[in-house]
């Protein structure tokens, strides 16, 4: 089954979802072009398997499922996806922020940022620092935090798309925020004050 109607349906999905799928794939692979190819392959696979879809689930969730498989294949082939060292490095950073009883270590207490936050976004230098800090996150963390803000979707849908449990999701967001905050403090706010 590959009728004109099916093509039309998939083309309508391309318009609706390709930007979000691409953002996710880009964060996970850290490779814009590879991400574009993976998104294209996802839609081709969706076209071929459209009869399996039958409107059972949300097309978006279904497409994310296909894409996640493609991303896993991509990592298996390139073997470059082994980002475990980065993960454990980041978890180490988070661990060192708190003492044994879970309280902030003195060095980690960050005072209020009293910049005018909306003005900051017009500042190219700040945007570059933010982007650099996002890129330092483990790919799963960076991708999760990006996905959190896309559209007005609820956490449950996002977890389905990412293939993780809700508990995992807010823990990832928590760790990502802790690391981002420290990175912004050292590379922007702290630097300005001193």
């Amino acid at each position: 089954m590959n009728s004109i109607e099916t093509q039309d349906l998939v083309v309508s999905w391309v318009k609706l979802y390709s930007a979000d799928l691409h953002l996710w794939a880009k964060r996970k692979t850290r490779d814009r072009e590879a991400a574009e190819d993976l998104v294209q392959e996802t839609f081709i696979a969706a076209l071929k398997g459209a009869e399996k879809f039958e409107g059972r689930s949300n097309p978006r969730t279904w497409l994310f499922g296909i894409l996640n498989n493609k991303i896993n294949d991509h990592f298996r082939k390139s073997s470059a996806g082994n980002s475990r060292s980065k993960d454990s490095e980041s978890i180490g950073i988070i661990h060192s922020m708190f003492d044994e009883s879970g309280h902030w270590r003195k060095s980690e207490v960050i005072g209020n940022w009293d910049e005018n936050e909306s003005q900051l976004l017009d500042n190219d230098e700040f945007n570059a620092v933010l982007e650099a800090c996002l890129n330092k996150l483990p790919s799963q963390w960076g991708a999760s935090i990006q996905l959190k803000y896309l559209d007005e979707r609820n956490g449950e849908e996002i977890c389905q798309e990412l293939g993780i449990s809700p508990t995992n999701f807010w823990q990832i967001i928590h760790r990502a925020k802790l690391q981002l905050r420290k990175c912004l403090e050292s590379n922007w706010f702290g630097g300005l004050a001193k």
Binding site: N2, Q7, V10, V11, V14, K15, S18, A19, H22, L23, E36, V39, Q40, F43, I44, L47, K48, M97, F98, S101, G102, H103, W104, V109, I110, G111, N112, W113, E117, S118, L120, L121, N127, L130, L134, I145, Q146, K148, Y149, L150, G155, P166, F169, W170, Q171, I173, H174, K177, L178, L180, R181, L184
Partner: protein, 92 residues
Amino acid sequence: MPGIKLVWRTRKMMASCKQATELIEKREIAGLGIYEKVSLTYHLAICKACRAYQSQSRMIDDWIKSQQMENKNSEEDKNLVRRITDEIRKQQ
């Protein structure tokens, strides 16, 4: 003595900074249960460092959100839609 019991209970409910900052993120995503709400409110009332985290966490949210808004409908995205649409039309 009820007083001692109350103090003991409150101490038990008191979240650490690590837990409190995690609750701040959980609240956004999944919402909190009654005990979690109480323990977070109590913690934030007495912990300046976690109040700073809370406001910084919101700022980070706003920045990433607006960064995404700006990137939406970028040339890059439009080109990708065009490229994939062409590719799909080619499939028989």
